[in-house]
Symmetry: C2
Subunit: 215 residues, 2 copies
Amino acid sequence: MNYIAERRQEEKDRRRTEILDAAEAVAASEGFDALTMDQVARRARISRALLYVYFQDRDDLHFGLCERALALLQSRFEAAATRRGTGLQKIVAIGRAYVAFAAEFPVHFAALASFQAHEAGSEPGTGNVAACFAAGEKVHQTMFAVIEAGQRDGSIATSAGSPVAIAMTLWAFIHGTIQLISTKGGLLGEYGLNAKALVDQALKIAADGLSPTRH
Amino acid sequence: MNYIAERRQEEKDRRRTEILDAAEAVAASEGFDALTMDQVARRARISRALLYVYFQDRDDLHFGLCERALALLQSRFEAAATRRGTGLQKIVAIGRAYVAFAAEFPVHFAALASFQAHEAGSEPGTGNVAACFAAGEKVHQTMFAVIEAGQRDGSIATSAGSPVAIAMTLWAFIHGTIQLISTKGGLLGEYGLNAKALVDQALKIAADGLSPTRH
DNA sequence: GCGAGGCGTTGACACAGTGTCAATAACTGT
DNA sequence: ACAGTTATTGACACTGTGTCAACGCCTCGC
C-alpha cells in the first residue's frame, strides 16, 4: 500500500535529522574539522556503512550541515530585516545578526566558513549540495531585498553599486570579520582590542561607506 | 672544525627550500588541500621519512608555506605603501596589491586562506609557527603605519578608530572579498558580476567608510 | 690509515580514516 | 509459509600519516 512508503519515508527523514544532530554534537565536542564518520555513526547509533546510505560521503554530510545552518541564519536575517528603520539600519542589523549567530552557534558558523573557504565545483543539481545552494540563495535574496529598499528610501547610495554587488561585498566583509575574530581572537588582546569593538568598527566603516551623505 | 657545521647548515637550509619549492609545485598542480606528504617527498626526491626531519608534520610544512607567502606579500605591500599619495590612497593601493597577489600566486593565497580559516592555538615560540606569525606581524605593521600616516595627513578619519583596529578590519574585508571571489567565482556570472567589478566595489565602500568627509 | 661516534637517510611498521560490497536480517504482500 | 523488497551490517581494500630501528657515510682523534 501507499501508507507504507509514506511511513518509511518519514522514518528515513527522521533518521536523517538524527544523523545531522549527531554530527552537530560531535562537531561541538570534538571540533568541526576533526569530525569523523565513525564518531557520527556511533553517536547516531548506526553502523558506519548505513551512514553512507544517507549521505554519499563526508562532503555530502557537510553540505547537509550547511543547509541547516543557512536555514537558521536566514530566519535570523529575516527577523532583523523586519524591524523598523531605514534600509541601511536594517542591513546593519543583519550584520549584527550574523555576528550573534556566529557567537550562538559556533558549529554552524564553522560549517559555513569551511563551505565558504572551499572551492565550489559547478554544482550538480542533485542531493544536499543543491539544497545547500538553494538555502544560500534565500539568504542572499533577503540581503538583496533590504539593500534595494535602502536605495529606494535613500539611506544607501545608489552610487555604491547594484544591490546584488553590494550584498556580495557586505557578505564578504562581515564574514571575513567574524572569521578573523573567531580564529585569531587570541591575538586581539595583544593589540588591546576586543571582539565587540572590532565588530562595531567594521559595521561603522561599512555603513559609512554605503551612506549617500558623501558627494 | 666550524666550517663543517656551517656548510651542513647551509645544505640543510637549501634542502629546506627545495622541499618548500616541491610543496608549492605539488600544490599548484594538485590543488592546495589535496597535498600529501608523499607527493612532496617524491617531488623533492627524498624519502617521506626525511621530510619529517625537516618539518615536524603536515601543519608545520603548511606554516612554512605561509611564511613564504607572507614574506612575498609583505614586499608587495611595501611597494604599494611607498608610492606617492595620501594615506588613504596608499591603503587602497595595498588592497589592490593583495588582490593582485592572490591572482598571481593562487597557491600562496590558498595557504594564507587556510591559515586564516583554522584556529590558532596559542603559539609555541618555536619552529615555523613562530616565523609565520612574525611574518604576519610585519605585514600588519606595514598596514598599521600607512593608516597612521593617513590619519595624520587627514585622508583617513580619526573617528574611524585606532590604526590597529582599522588595519585588522580592512584585512578582514579584503581577505573576505578575495576569498569569496576565488571560491565562488563561478556563481558571480549568474548575477551578472565579475571579479574586477566586485573588487572595485569593495574598495570603494571601504575607502568611503574611512574618508573623513562625513563627520 | 682506521676505528668510534655522530649525522643523514631510508624501508618498514602501526595506526586511523574513508568508501564499497556481498551477505544477513527485517519487513511486506500474496 | 514463502518470495521479494528494503534496511543494516561486518569485513575488506585503499590511502595517508607519523614513528622507529637500522644502515651507510662522513669526520675527527689516534
